[in-house]
Amino acid sequence: MKWDVRRIREWKFYEHPQGATILEAGNSLYYQTGSWRTFRPVWIGEKCTHCLYCFIFCPDAAVKVSKEKIAGFDYEHCKGCGICATECPREAIEMVEEQRESDR
């Protein structure tokens, strides 16, 4: 990491980079959007043909792929938008409501 933003909340106004420039590509990795989710995608292995449509359509790069095969979801970043489930030609992704603490 070239640019350590872990303490950005404490930075004084003069400590930020010039002109609000973000100095490092890909640092959205540190922004865990998984907490936004109300529905989670669940992968149904037996229906999947590994066409990788879900991987292509996912706006957050949250579909994990290993050796050209689906390897599950990155739940730290998946916002639960459901695009993968909508686009899947085999209905191999199901959106399941996140369980609230009180339901457990």
Partner: protein, 397 residues
């Protein structure tokens, strides 16, 4: 200066185009508007003749001109453009982005009134409206100052302690289209003076990718960035002074935050900016001959406004008359007046301060109008009035 000076009989617009030729910016996106047009007309000749390496972009509006300037500057290019009046108004939202992204773009704005009614003549409403856009603003009295300010603007904007866009301002037609005596520097002198452009970040640097102009949410850092802009603007003051001193060494011409004339023992001081300061100087000479202790303070740097220095310079005056070539409906006086009031109040200075609005839409300002101002001041002085007022010069009222 030992070498023979190169002097030309040219207009301010031609002088500024010549300065641009010597600066040789990488990118110039521009759109024509009276009275700026002849700058770009002249500069495009240099481009066509291969006298510069500039990529001249003929865009479809001033909004696009400033947008392209921002893009090119963020890509790491040295960028210049020029406009006037409605053109500056159309750039509005982009002006704030250029300064907030800390892009050292240099632009001449040839001062012209804003519509309506449509008027192509000089006043300062256009750039005064942009006074909060975060640009450094350098006003020029004549073609020589417009040329000199353009060259200094590049060095000020690109100084690593500053990195802000700079507007070079001069009066439409009165200065832009008048043939004036202009001493020109040698190309090599200009090149050495401004040096090479070193971008801080570049969108084209694929090995070090950056994000320019990101989103900042409610709990983000917008406030910090704005505070920083203000901080940098304050810092710019010393850089402007330093660049002025360096420019003195290469040109023999001296530039500071403002220029004073006969103010040491002055009871009355006129404060103004732009070409009318020249006429005011002649008025001061005339009035001095009649034994009236009057002086002149000609502002050069309006942003950052030199509060402390102005307060100090005006402190011993009895009455200060600020002349504004723009109007700020609903406020107490014009923008220069407001700033000078604020300076005098902040530093607990004593002069009475009054305001005159003049010259809107190119309305003539002559020696007689300055004499009228001074006879008002003598009146005030006699009555020992401490009351401030806003009056209008050469208005049919």
């Amino acid at each position: 200066m030992t070498a023979k000076k190169k002097v030309a009989a040219i207009t301010a617009n031609v002088a500024c185009a010549y300065a641009m030729k010597q600066i040789d910016p990488d990118v110039v996106p521009a759109y024509p508007i009276t009275p700026q047009t002849t700058i770009m007309e002249e500069f495009s000749n240099y481009v066509a003749d291969g006298a510069v390496n500039t990529r001249l972009m003929r865009v479809e509006s001033e909004h696009s001109a400033m947008s392209a300037a921002i893009g090119a500057s963020a890509a790491g290019a040295r960028v210049m453009t020029a406009t006037s009046s409605q053109g500056l108004a159309l750039m509005w939202e982009m002006l704030y982005i250029a300064s907030a992204l800390r892009l050292p773009i240099v632009m001449q704005n040839v001062n012209r009134a804003l519509s309506a009614p449509i008027n192509i003549h000089c006043d300062h409403s256009d750039s005064m409206g942009a006074r909060d856009a975060g640009w450094i603003q350098l006003f020029s009295e004549n073609a020589q100052e417009a040329y000199d300010n353009t060259i200094q603007a590049v060095k000020i904007a690109e100084d690593m302690r500053v990195r802000l866009p700079v507007m070079v301002l001069y009066d439409g037609f009165i200065v832009s289209h008048a043939i004036d005596r202009v001493e020109l520097l040698d190309d090599e002198v200009v090149k050495d003076f401004i040096g090479d452009f070193k971008p801080v970040y570049s969108l084209l640097d694929v090995d070090n990718p950056v994000t320019v102009g990101p989103f900042d949410s409610l709990n983000g850092y917008y406030f910090e960035f704005k505070r920083m802009q203000e901080e940098v603007m304050r810092r710019a003051k010393s850089v402007i002074i330093k660049v002025g001193e360096e420019f003195m060494k290469v040109s023999g011409r001296s530039y500071g935050l403002f220029e004073t004339y006969q103010i040491e023992d002055a009871e009355y001081v006129l404060v103004l900016l732009g070409s009318a300061a020249g006429t005011a100087r002649v008025a001061v000479d005339n009035l001095r001959q009649q034994g009236i202790r009057i002086g002149l303070l000609k502002l050069r740097v309006f942003r950052p406004f030199p509060f402390e220095e102005i307060a100090k310079a005006l402190n011993s005056a009895k009455i200060v008359a600020v002349l504004d070539r723009s109007i700020s409906p609903g406020s107490q006086g014009g923008p220069v007046f407001q700033e000078v009031c604020s300076a005098l109040y902040s530093f607990d200075c004593s002069p009475v301060i009054v305001n005159y609005i003049y010259g809107l839409g190119g309305r003539e300002i002559e020696l007689a109008h300055f004499f009228k101002v001074v006879s008002d001041l003598e009146d005030l002085s006699e009555k020992r009035s401490k009351e401030s007022f806003v009056r209008y010069l050469n208005l049919r009222e």
